[in-house]
Amino acid sequence: MDSILEFIVGRYNYWLYILLMMIGLYAMISKNNLTKKIVGMNIFQTAIILFYISIGFKKGGTIPILEHTSHAVEVSHFVNPLPHVLMLTAIVVSVSTFGVALALAIMIYREHGTLEEDEILKCLEQ
Amino acid sequence: MNEIYSIRPLWVVLISLCAVPLIISTKRPNLRETWTILAGVLKLALVLSMLPDVLSGSSFSFNILTLFPGLPFRLRVDPMGLIFALVASFLWIVTSLYSIGYMRGLKEHSQSRYYAFFAIALSSTMGIAFAANLLTLYIFYEILSLSTFPLVTHHQDQEAKASGRKYLVYLLGTSIGLVLPSMIYLYMRFNGLDFRFGGFVPAGGANLPLNIACLLLVFGFAKVAIMPLHSWLPAAMVAPTPVSALLHAVAVVKAGAFSVVRTILFVFGEGFLEGSWARPTILFFASATVLIGSLVALYQRELKRLLAFSTIAQLSYIVLGAAMLTEHGVKGGILQLAMHAFGKITLFLGAGAIFVATGKKLVDQLEGLGRTMPFTFGAFFVGALSIIGIPPMGGFLAKWELLLGSCQSQYMGIMGVLLASSLLNVAYFIPLVYRAFFPSFPVEGKIREAPLFCLLPMLATALFTILLFFFPYPFAQLISGLWSQLLGG
């Protein structure tokens, strides 16, 4: 029992990122409004960024910035900075995706006058 | 036996293909048809130029490309291929000349397209004749199916659409669905598909997958129209008559028969087939096709359909001959390939000439026409006699060999099949010709023959049918050359 609890509690970050992903997916699949879907998509992306940051995180680790060190650097004291760097790119990517998606949504609105998926589909079938 | 490495076979294949751009780009009909004839004559000359060497026992070969490891795209001229090439290239000229009369007589549309695809079809026929391995043969076989499609559906009407669909479903369906898997299996197993006298499949006929592969190949080459894969052939009768002549006498069906003979003799060979159950199956289906085809022909009212069913029956002779695997059987089968071509083309050209001159298609309408069109019906009579197998027509030689072959083989029943079929041939041809000359009612009118362009080619093929009986020189020589190679290999 303890071990299960530990398994759950010890990795709560991972559980929560999965939860966030699920929220994002849920919004993308079941929401009718395209803007909501786009928000869901963005939540989905940030969840993955969270996951990456969690990879780099170490208990008791600190910010990976070195100040004038005279002694040897102990790696385990620092958070792994590589995922951070990667995520900078990923954030930019997610914002661009967000932008493209919103632009498309505006195009759709101009054509159909609505952003509700069911109404658009009805419109397209005619 | 020595091998001559030469590009000549490739030229034979390519020469009519080279004519295609000329045919399409030329606007004036006379010039366009000159190109066709010129290509035909050149092709025949090239084929003939290889005859002396092949007769003396050498063979020409040419590698074009490598397709798969150990499997080149290769041409090779051996006696059997040369027989087919000779027949096809000679009859192409005849059909082309005839086409000029026919197409102009009926003022057909899209004549450039017609001649262009005719040329492509001939190229692929030559490719089939000279293919050195199964894959090369398959490639040309597919091109032939596709290039004859616009010819079959030349009229572009509803009837042509239905027939064209049937034509393709049968031919492409069987080649993709049956031939291809079998070929891949053989390649996987033997790492090559080169034709070899006596087959590359080792002896021992009990192997189940190999038996299946053999049947897939024989039935997959559906151009040979063994029942139950025959019904594309009568349907393809909607085509203009020269096309039917090409389909049923020269290129398409003979390509199928040729492929089957190649399969039986050069892929599987005597060693394998001797003890296999594939051989009795083939013999059974071929015999059934001979009998049923002839019987159905009796009940046809349309002349071209009658000829189609007659063709179905006659083609299976070739298969029977090859599958008998006796000396005379094989010789007879290959001889039939040539002789039937001359006989049947005469008949088709006759049917076409009747249609051009009188517009009549049905058997009943022919009554008394022999009086007004003596030359046409004379030629028709010669063709019919050759198909029946009565001397002095070329067809007799083939039948004679086949009968001899069946005596040699363990399957004596085949002899009965051949004789019964001959009687049926008599039954559907002779009354037809008889009533044309001796109608049951008096016929008035003067002689009104078909156009000269139609008449001359027909008379020529009729003449050849007779001549071949007396001088079967190149064919007989080639066939005995082939047989000695078979024994040697």
Binding site: L25, I48, A103, L104, L124 | T66, F68, L146, L172
Partner: protein, 495 residues
């Protein structure tokens, strides 16, 4: 050009691609009419670079290029071998021919926004090219997103009612796919601490049974499968490719999915390795299942379509099925077939979409509107027939060779599901294409005034070039296998 310079082409292709696309856009500020010629020149230059890179690889064998001279695992590496160099060349050729062929139509449709369109066009192929050449898993993600984002924007051009909505749907699925891929890379990073493909693959062999690695494997696979439109992740594909502007569909349909298919091979054979994928975790069964399902679904659904381009989209789904099924069979001949089919399919699909687009311009998008089109535009129709026959697999077209290897491989593995599915789909494709041929062929009119719409010489040239590409790929099938596919398989230690 000296050899050392040519090495740098590997990075120049990507960086200059990015740069040139921005310059192309900047041209709008000077003179808008300069954009398109400049784009042509840029792609021409990039094609030249790609070609010399290809020649170099053929001559000297594969090599790694370190960005800025930093070796991995610190720096980003580009890895160029025969296969991806060839594929990259194909990408540029397709892009170049497509642009030249559809010059007028781009100007007509996007006249006032030509700068942006051309910039996206170049950016898209640059992204694809980066995906092909990179040896870094994260770099691949970034380039994948570059290609995808520009792809979304390009696909939104076209039918105003349909295209943006279809494109947005693609955005959703595409993003999920890319995120799954990223997630998978993260899992690999947890265990290996590296993003370099070679490095990761070396480390994976030491810890093959870790569930983390397995999760990474599964996420990456699903991510890429979504991006390549494998059934049942294909739902975005038909809608997005059908409703877009014709010249865009003939660019993206052949390239997008095929490049992703290449990534599958790269990841499975090079990063995870054959033992991991096939022997420890039986990927073979899964891939066979998905592949066969895709083949049959694509072939059967295509028969039900009434819209020509939508029908072709399902053909694309079938082709993806071939590639995955061949991978699933897993022996050398099947994978050889898959890879060859992938290469050929770029040419075939391109030719098919380009010529079909020409027919659509002359008639309409519905198959029944094709009536008499063979007589109307015999040249475009004959190229369309050529491409279709290649897809069916009539020898000696390229499609035949891929299918041959696939069939042979599946027969050797006694995988009769794949064998049967390929044969059946070939037959169904025959029916499918001959249905369109019949529409085009059997409507003969005698009136001589019945001609094609005004089509420029360059359009004809482009269609002809795409046809020639198909023919060449068919004739050169054996050298392609020998010099491009086989070395790749050899390095994957496949035989």
């Amino acid at each position: 050009m000296s050899g050392t310079m040519t090495y740098h082409f590997s990075v120049i292709l990507v960086t200059f691609g990015l740069l040139l696309s921005f310059i192309t856009y900047a041209m709008t500020w000077i003179k808008r009419s300069l954009c398109l010629p400049f784009a042509v020149l840029s792609i021409g230059f990039l094609s030249y670079c790609s070609f010399s890179l290809f020649i170099l690889v053929i001559e000297r064998g594969p090599f790694e290029y370190y960005l800025g001279g930093w070796p991995p695992p610190i720096g980003i590496a580009y890895y160029i071998d025969e296969l991806n160099a060839f594929l990259s060349l194909l990408v540029y050729l397709v892009a170049l021919i497509n642009l030249l062929c559809n010059r007028e139509r781009f100007l007509e449709k996007q006249g006032d926004r030509i700068g942006g369109t051309m910039a996206l066009y170049i950016l898209f192929i640059t992204g694809l090219n980066g995906i092909l050449l990179t040896a870094d898993l994260f770099n691949l993600y970034v380039l994948l997103e570059i290609a995808s984002l520009t792809g979304y924007a390009l696909l939104a051009i076209g039918d105003k009612r349909q295209a943006p909505f279809a494109s947005l749907n693609y955005v959703f699925l595409g993003t999920i796919g890319a995120c799954f891929y990223l997630l998978g890379v993260g899992y690999l990073y947890i265990k290996t601490g590296s993003l370099n493909m070679q490095d990761v693959s070396r480390l994976i062999t030491q810890i093959p049974k870790s569930p983390t690695i397995l999760s990474g494997f599964i996420f990456i696979l699903i991510g890429i499968w979504i991006k390549m439109g494998l059934f049942p992740f294909h739902i975005w594909l038909p809608r997005a490719y059908t409703n877009t502007f014709g010249p865009i569909s003939s660019l993206i349909a052949p390239l997008g999915t095929k490049v992703m298919a290449y990534v599958i091979f790269r990841v499975i054979l090079f990063v995870f390795g054959k033992e991991f994928s096939f022997e420890i975790y039986s990927l073979g069964h899964v891939a066979t299942l998905f592949g066969v399902a895709a083949i049959l679904y694509g072939a059967i659904t295509a028969l039900r379509q009434t819209d020509l381009r939508r029908m072709l989209c399902f053909v694309v789904i079938t082709e993806i099925g071939y590639i995955v099924a061949g991978l699933g069979v897993g022996n050398i001949n099947a994978i050889r077939g898959s890879l060859l089919h992938l290469l050929n399919d770029v040419a075939m699909t391109f030719c098919l979409f380009l010529s079909a687009d020409h027919l659509i311009v002359n008639t309409g998008t519905k198959i029944e509107e094709l009536k008499g089109v063979f007589q109307k535009t015999p040249f475009g129709s004959s190229i369309y027939v050529l491409a279709s026959l290649s897809v069916i697999g009539i020898p000696p077209s390229p499609g035949f060779f891929g299918k041959w290897y696939l069939l042979q491989g599946s027969l050797e593995a006694q995988n009769f599901w794949v064998f049967g599915a390929i044969l059946l789909s070939s037959l169904l494709n025959t029916v499918l294409f001959f249905r369109t041929f019949e529409e085009g062929y059997y409507h003969h009119t005698e009136s001589p005034s019945y001609g094609p719409k005004k089509t420029s010489l360059s359009a004809y040239g482009g269609i002809l070039a795409s046809g020639l590409l198909v023919v060449l790929m068919g004739l050169l099938a054996h050298p392609i296998v020998g010099h491009i596919v086989d070395p790749f398989l050899l390095r994957a230690r496949l035989p």
